[in-house]
C-alpha cells in the first residue's frame, strides 16, 4: 500500500501567532527579533511574507533587515507562546492519527495517515478538513501537501508556500521533482550544492540521471542519500515525539546576545532558582537538568546532568546546571537565549530519614532557601536571587 503523508506548514509561524494575538500587526510587515530594535547584535528570529519579499531573512542582523524593510514593525519573540500554539495545533491533528512528527514551535508537522481511509476518507480530504478546522479554531492557515513520503511532501509544501496545497500522486514523485532546482531538496548541505553546481547540475532531474556509483565518488556515503532523494524515494517513518514526562521548563532570552560566560552563568542561576521554587511548591524532586543554549545562528547546544536521588535544593540544582554549562560552553557563537529543563520529576517521599544527619552547611542552605521562598511568595518571583545570579 502506498503511504499517505500529510505535511502541514504554518508559514512564518511566530508571525502568524503574534498576528492572532494582535490583529493590528496584520497591517504592517512584521519582524520578530530577539532584543530591542536598534541594538547592533539583534538578529531576525522570524519575519512576515511582506518582509521576506523585501529581502529579510532569518538570522539576519536586525539593522540590516530594517534597512531592507523600512516599514516593518519589530517585536520580540515569545517562545512560550509559540510552544503553546504548537501544542494546540498538534492537539487537533492527533485526532486523525497518532503518527505525528512535529518540529520545535515552527509550525511544521508530518502526519502519516496511511490506512486511515476507512475512518476519515482520502488523505487530501483529511488535510483540507484540518486546514479548515485550524483556521476556524486557531486562526492559523497552514499550507498542506499530500505525498507518499516525508521528503516529497516537504518539497511540495516548499513549492506552494505561503498559501495553497499540493497533492503529489503516488508513483509520480520523480516526475514531480525532476524540473525543480536542487536547492529545494531537503537535507542538501551548502557544500554538496556547491559541488553539484561545479558539475553543472542545477535540477533534481539532472541529479537523478546519475548512478549510485557516479555519486559515490564525490559524495561518498551521502551519495546514496542523494541517489534516493533525487528519485523521490524516502522510506523514513513519521516519528511521533516520545511521551513527554512531567517536566519544568524555564527560559531566559538575553536582551542583547552574549558570549560572556559570567552573564550566561548568572542567567542560568536565575533559572535554577525558578525551577527549584517550582519543585518545592509541588513537593517534588528533580532528577535531571537539561541546559539548552540557543545561539544567534539558530543552532542549539545542549547538555544534561543527572542526580539519582533528585533534589529541590537550589544549591544542588545550581551545581548540576553549572556542570552542564561547563560542558556545553564551547561554540564561539553568541547566545541568544538559554533554556533550563528539569526532567525525571519524582514526588518527595513523605517518610523522613531514620537518622537525620544533615551537615551544618545543608541546614544553612535550607534556611536560606526557605527564607528566599518566603520573600518571593510575598514580593513575587525574582524579588530575591542568589548572588551568583547577579
Amino acid at each position: 500500500m502506498d503511504r499517505a503523508i500529510i505535511h502541514l506548514n504554518v508559514t512564518d509561524f511566530a508571525v502568524a501567532v503574534e498576528r492572532i494575538g494582535d490583529s493590528s500587526l496584520r497591517n504592517f510587515p512584521l519582524i520578530v527579533a530577539s532584543g530591542a530594535a536598534g541594538k547592533s547584535r539583534t538578529v531576525v528570529y522570524d519575519m512576515s511574507e511582506e518582509a521576506y519579499q523585501d529581502g529579510v531573512r532569518k538570522g539576519m542582523a536586525l539593522q540590516q533587515a530594517s534597512r531592507y524593510c523600512r516599514a516593518a514593525r519589530v517585536i520580540g519573540p515569545r517562545p512560550d507562546l509559540y510552544r503553546r500554539a504548537m501544542a494546540a495545533l498538534v492537539k487537533r491533528v492527533v485526532c486523525y492519527t497518532p503518527l505525528v512528527e512535529q518540529g520545535e514551535e515552527d509550525g511544521h508537522l508530518f502526519m502519516d495517515v496511511t490506512g486511515t481511509h476507512r475512518l476519515f476518507g482520502p488523505a487530501p480530504d483529511i488535510a483540507w478538513r484540518l486546514r479548515k478546522q485550524l483556521s476556524a479554531d486557531l486562526g492559523l492557515d497552514p499550507v498542506w501537501s499530500v505525498a507518499s513520503s516525508k521528503l516529497v511532501a516537504k518539497v511540495a509544501s516548499r513549492m506552494i508556500r505561503p498559501f495553497g496545497e499540493y497533492i503529489v500522486g503516488a508513483g509520480e514523485e520523480h516526475i514531480f521533482l525532476a524540473p525543480l532546482p536542487l536547492s529545494i531538496l531537503p537535507g542538501l548541505t551548502a557544500e554538496e550544492l556547491k559541488i553539484l553546481q561545479d558539475f553543472n547540475l542545477h535540477r533534481i532531474g539532472q541529479l537523478a540521471k546519475l548512478s549510485r556509483k557516479q555519486l559515490l565518488v564525490p559524495f561518498r556515503k551521502r551519495g546514496s542519500y542523494l541517489y534516493e532523494a533525487s528519485r523521490g524515494r524516502d522510506h523514513t517513518a513519521v516519528r511521533p515525539a516520545p511521551e513527554k514526562d512531567d517536566c519544568i521548563t524555564m527560559e531566559h532570552t538575553f536582551e542583547e546576545e552574549t558570549a560572556n560566560y559570567a552573564e550566561v552563568e548568572a542567567a542560568v542561576a536565575t533559572l535554577v532558582h525558578g525551577v527549584g521554587r517550582c519543585l518545592r511548591r509541588r513537593n517534588m524532586l528533580g532528577g535531571r537538568l537539561k541546559l539548552v543554549l540557543v545561539h544567534v545562528d539558530g543552532k542549539k547546544s545542549h547538555r544534561q546532568v543527572s542526580w539519582k536521588r533528585g533534589s529541590d535544593n537550589d544549591f544542588v540544582l545550581r551545581d548540576m546546571a553549572f556542570g552542564a554549562l561547563d560542558q556545553v560552553w564551547g561554540r564561539r557563537v553568541r547566545v541568544r537565549s538559554c533554556v533550563l529543563r528539569c526532567e525525571r520529576i519524582l514526588p518527595r517521599s513523605p517518610q523522613q530519614a531514620l537518622f537525620m544527619l544533615k551537615s551544618c552547611q545543608e541546614e544553612q542552605q535550607e534556611k536560606i532557601i526557605t527564607a528566599m521562598d518566603q520573600v518571593c511568595s510575598r514580593f513575587g518571583d525574582g524579588s530575591i536571587v542568589l548572588g551568583t545570579a547577579i
Binding site: D2, H117, R118, P122, P124, I167, G169, G171
Partner: protein, 264 residues
Amino acid sequence: MARETLCPVLVGTSGYSYTEWVDSGFYPQGTRTPEMLYIYARSFPIVELNYTWYQMVRAEAISRMISRAPEEFLFAAKLTRTVTHERDRNWQQEVKKYRKGIRPLQGQLAVILIQLPGSFDWSRCNRYYLAHLLDTLHGFPLAVEFRHVSWARDSVFAELEKRHVTLVTVDAPPVRGLFPCLDVVTNPDLFFVRFHGRNLQGWQSENIQKKFDYCYADEELQQWNEQYLKPLRRNAERGVVFFNNHVRAQAPANGKFLQEMLLQ
C-alpha cells in the same frame, strides 16, 4: 420536446483513486495508485475527477493522467473549491488558472461540474456571482449542482437553458433545505446525474466516510430508472451518471449494476 428513443448514458464514479477499493476487491490486491485509472477504464467509460476540487488543476498533471487512460475515455472535472466553496476577491484569477490547467483535457472533457455549497442560496449576490462565473467559464461544457432548495425555480432553469448549462440531478438523503431530485433537462446536449447515497445520518455528520456510506439496492435503482432516468433520456442527446457513494467500493458496484440494467 420529449422523444420516443432513449439517449445513451455513460456511467462512472466520483473519483477512482481510493485505496479502500483495493481492500474491497474492485482493484486487484497490490494495485498501486498509478495503475488505478487504467484498471478503472476497463469497467467504466467515464470518471468524475474529485481531486480537482481539492487543488487547482495543473496542466502537466492532467497530461500525465490522460496518458494512462484509453483515448476514448472521458472525464468530468469538478471546479476547484477556491471558486465555489472558499472563494475570495481573487476568484477570477483562480478561474484563469483552472482554464489553463484543464486545457490538456479538452479533447476528453465531457463536462465541468460546478458544485455549489449548501450555504449558496438564491440571493441577489449569489445570482450575480453565478452568472459571472458561468460567463468566465464560457466555452466549456458546464453543469451546475445546487445544494440549496431556493434554486429550484423555473426562472433558474430557463436561464440555464438559455446558457446551455446542465442542471445536475441529484439523488441524496431527504434533508430539509437540500435541492430536490428533479428530471429537468436544461441542456439538450447533456444531462448529468449524481448518486450521493441515502445515508441521512451520515449526511448530517462531517465525516465523509459516513456521508457517502450507502449501497443502493437493485430495486431502488430500477425504480429510479423508471421515475427519473427514462424521462431524462428522452430529453437529451447524451447523459452521464456518477455514483459518489465511494465508501467500501459501493459506487463501482452500483455503477456496474446500472450499466448492465441499461444494456438490457
